[in-house]
């Protein structure tokens, strides 16, 4: 690949990514009322999206081989428990992450 071709490839990826980010705002501009169905989706989607992103983070973890996702499940349980107990975002994340690092480096 020449330098020009490399630049075009990178720009195409950037344009594709930006299309996915800008499209909803272009289709439903701020000046006009957004259709009720889209407003409903705006409220209903985030819960589903966050669920999807949790799974997305874990997509390369195999349940059937390796550690059988045990360290991940323990660390998620610790994160959840900490969060329900104190409801302090940074504490829950730090606790869960340290727990996972200890499990990976010492136990598994």
């Amino acid at each position: 690949m020449t330098l020009t071709q490399q630049i075009i490839t990178i720009l195409m990826v950037a344009i594709g990514t930006m299309l996915t980010r800008f499209l909803p705002f272009l289709i439903f501009p701020a000046g006009k009322p957004t259709p009720p169905y889209i407003r409903f989706l705006g409220k209903a989607l985030p819960g589903a999206v966050f669920g999807m992103l949790v799974i997305y983070c874990l997509k390369d973890v195999s349940i059937f081989s390796g550690n059988h996702a045990i360290p991940e499940l323990i660390a998620i349980a610790v994160t959840t428990a900490l969060h329900l107990w104190r409801r302090q975002m940074l504490l829950s994340i730090a606790g869960g992450t340290i727990c996972y690092m200890l499990l990976m480096q010492l136990a598994f």
Binding site: T9, A14, L84
Partner: protein, 258 residues
Amino acid sequence: MSLYPEQSTLKPKDNPSRGTVIRQALAAAFPYTIPIFAGFWFLGITYGIYMNVSGFSFWYPMLMALVIFAGSVEFITVNMLLNPFNPLQALAMALMINARHLFYGISMLDRYKNAGWKKFYLIFGMCDESFSINYSVKIPEGIDRFWFMFFVTLLNHLYWVSGATLGGLLGSVITFSTEGLSFAMTALLVVIFLEQWLKDSVHISELLGLGISLLCLIIFGADGFIIPSMLLLLALLTLLRRRMEYPADTDCTTGEAA
């Protein structure tokens, strides 16, 4: 209706200067981005190293991190740069991998409204993590919410670019003793998911998100489960629309469904 009504106009009584407003927003935003810093430096450095050992100078990861700012697609672009020139494939791949951003945009239509010149950058920098924080965080009273969201996005962007650049510069010189650090990103999303769960009175959406994505992951595998998950979620949420009530916005249930 925004969850934070009129917050942008809420300012301390003594009418602080523009500089104070900006500084306060930065100070309020920074703590929320700390887990992203851990995750993005870990992933960004890994990405930079990957490009370095694939034969690219640090300019590549640095500029790609700057203009693309979407982690998974950048890793795949490395591979495409090593293969014969195929710009349409590059475009199609970026559209497919990042299709989930469409959902973020729909959720952010109201929240990014009236952001002025910042709106362009907020949308440009709307990666998974910036969206998750900007959607879910209850911005403290008296903090300008557009500057807050701007700094969340900017800090995340800076972490990613600096991580990728560092990895590209240092190459394979670094050895990690930080195994497992990237779990910070998973933990962040678990916390955001929990917060959304506690906020909603009906949990259909959250349960579908977890269940359908897991099902699709098992059926379609790690590289192809996002699009089928999105389509199924969209279809099921539409079907269940009448059973999901959002008191903050009565238009949702009385509009088309009636």
